[in-house]
């Protein structure tokens, strides 16, 4: 094991080797290799249908891989006992349970104080008694986040959790996710279609194409990251250009694009 561990992390290190997933004749993931350090925040981007959700579901143990293995800290992830939580794009709250009971789902014993604390952590303490249908989309996602974090997961998987939110709520949620990650120090895999979001949050941005990791780009910017900061835009453009399969496109030419890169961010 050559993996380094971040200091004071509660996360697990992942080693994915030759991971493949086929649906009938369609190969979605083909021999994917990936190493993630403990406590690292990794963002995964790629065109729609490239297999991002498939990868996350395999890591979460919701689907079975056709081939290959996923190890956590040197043992098969499924047997490692590492607590893994997946947060879906739709919050998937139980509509017939109060917000508090949703957060405490699957807990036993005296779970209520813990659930209240987790709700307070995402800033929703005063909504504990409401039904999920009485919350906004962003609030529902925060409840889902609290529900995942209450288990103190070592690996947190986020599948486009902010995809359905408006721009302002997204930025708020990004800041919340970063804050919670800095506090909990778990390993995070974030799937997003927003390159700016990936660059704002992740230690590394991965691009999945043709069933493999097509780009693996570190983001060595200090946190918290300002979107206007030097280096931020350059990294964002680099990822975008790669996603659009135009690796020769360099920054000076960006102005000649028919559509602003900012607009293209949403088209992935």
């Amino acid at each position: 094991m050559t993996q380094t561990t971040l200091e004071g992390t509660a996360g697990v290190a992942l080693a994915i080797r030759g991971l493949a997933k086929r649906f009938g004749a369609q190969t979605v993931l083909a021999a994917l290799d990936l190493d993630i350090r403990a406590g690292e925040f990794v963002a995964i981007v790629g065109r729609s249908g490239c297999g991002k959700s498939t990868l996350l579901r395999l890591v979460a143990g919701l689907d079975r891989a056709s081939d290959g293995r996923i190890d956590a800290d040197g043992a098969a992830l499924a047997d490692s006992g590492a607590d893994t939580r997946l947060m879906f794009q739709d919050a998937r709250l139980l509509p017939w349970k109060s917000v508090l009971a949703n957060v405490g789902l699957g807990l036993s014993g005296d779970w209520q104080p813990r659930a209240r604390a987790a709700l307070a952590e995402v800033g929703l303490a005063e909504h504990a008694g409401k039904w999920p249908s009485q919350l906004s989309g962003g609030q529902r996602q925060r409840v889902a986040l609290a529900r995942a974090l209450i288990h103190e997961p070592q690996l947190l998987l986020l599948d486009e959790p902010l995809g359905a939110l408006d721009a302002l709520t997204r930025i708020e949620m990004q800041q919340l996710i970063e804050r919670l990650w800095l506090r909990h120090r778990c390993t995070v895999l974030l799937v997003t279609h927003d390159v700016e979001e990936a660059v704002a949050l992740a230690d590394r941005v991965l691009l999945i194409e043709d069933g493999r990791v097509g780009l693996d780009l570190p983001v060595p910017l200090p946190r918290p990251r300002a979107r206007g900061a030097a280096g931020f835009g350059a990294i964002e453009e680099q990822v975008l250009a790669r996603v659009l399969r135009q690796p020769e496109l360099v920054t000076p030419l960006v102005d000649e694009l028919p559509i602003a890169p900012g607009a293209l961010r949403w088209a992935l």
Binding site: A60, G61, L62, R85, L86, F88, D90, R92, L94, P95, W96, K97, L105, G106, W131, S133, Q134, R147
Partner: protein, 279 residues
């Protein structure tokens, strides 16, 4: 709501025009409350007028006051309550048996692939038999016994509950089930916290249908053969040409049907209070 509205307006405005406005608004509210009852009230008045002026023979349709009097007499000598109670219990027990069995079968076919394979086709085949077509057979089996009525009611209430339970369970959001599994819910907790509440809106639709059927079947069963119950009250009165009691019995069925529907709605409002439709 309406009264606080009037109060606030009355405190705020003391001028003559203001008061007129208050009265006009109160009048409008009253009118809107009463409007739905205008047509039935007129109809009853017309009925009373036509009956007392000999336009409708009292053998055909006695005046509403006569029906009311018949009701008061029967209530005073206790007969009304005896028959009401018997009909009510028949409906309730028949519904409990049929609905309970429907729920059980629906849970089995909804939850287990093997159960569906074994049972669903058979249940769907029996469902195509109209319950009323069974009456001759039911009389052969049970005579005109209590069991005959309970069987008919149970038979008619089983299928609406069965179908809606089965479909309710099948249409529970698979994403929620997957989520709950990933949070460690299995077996009974998964059923109690996810599958049953998810199927409940559909099950309650089935229950409301079943309650409607229960009364229809009970009316038929009691009218054909009974020695007690509202249907018996009506058939007995027919023999003695007491049209007022016959009309009373019909109205009693209407009231009972309406009351049980209210009860079902009330249960819906309690159990589905999480549902946006009930907030």
């Amino acid at each position: 709501m309406a009264s606080t509205h009037i109060l606030q307006a009355g405190l705020g405005q003391t001028s003559a025009s203001g008061e007129r406005g208050v009265f006009a608004r109160a009048g409008a509210v009253l009118l809107r409350r009463l409007a739905p009852w205008a047509a039935p009230a007129l109809l009853i008045l017309a009925w009373q007028w036509a009956a007392t002026h000999g336009l409708i023979g009292s053998r055909i349709l006695p005046p509403p006051l006569e029906v009311l009097k018949a009701g008061v007499t029967l209530a005073e000598n206790g007969e009304l309550w005896t028959h009401l109670k018997i009909s009510f219990w028949r409906a309730l027990i028949g519904f409990a048996l049929g609905g309970g069995l429907g729920l059980l079968l629906g849970l089995i076919t909804g939850l287990s692939r093997r159960g569906e394979l074994l049972l669903d086709t058979s249940v769907q085949m029996i469902r195509n038999i109209p319950p009323l077509a069974l009456i001759p057979l039911v009389i052969l089996w049970f005579g005109i016994d209590e069991a005959a009525k309970l069987f008919l009611v149970a038979f008619g209430t089983l299928f609406p509950v069965y179908i809606n339970t089965y479909h309710g369970i099948r249409s529970v959001d698979a994403g929620l089930v997957e989520m709950a599994r990933s949070y460690g819910l299995r077996g009974w907790p998964l059923f109690r916290d996810v599958i049953l509440p998810g199927a409940l809106p559909s099950i309650l639709v089935g229950v409301r249908f079943a309650i409607g059927f229960a009364w229809i079947l009970l009316i038929v069963a009691e009218t054909i053969s009974a020695s007690s119950g509202i249907g018996y009250l009506a058939m007995n009165a027919r023999e003695f040409l007491q049209t007022d009691v016959v009309v009373l019995a019909i109205l009693l069925y209407a009231v009972l049907g309406k009351l049980s529907d209210w009860a079902a709605r009330w249960v819906e409002r309690i159990w589905l209070r999480w549902h946006p439709a009930y907030q």
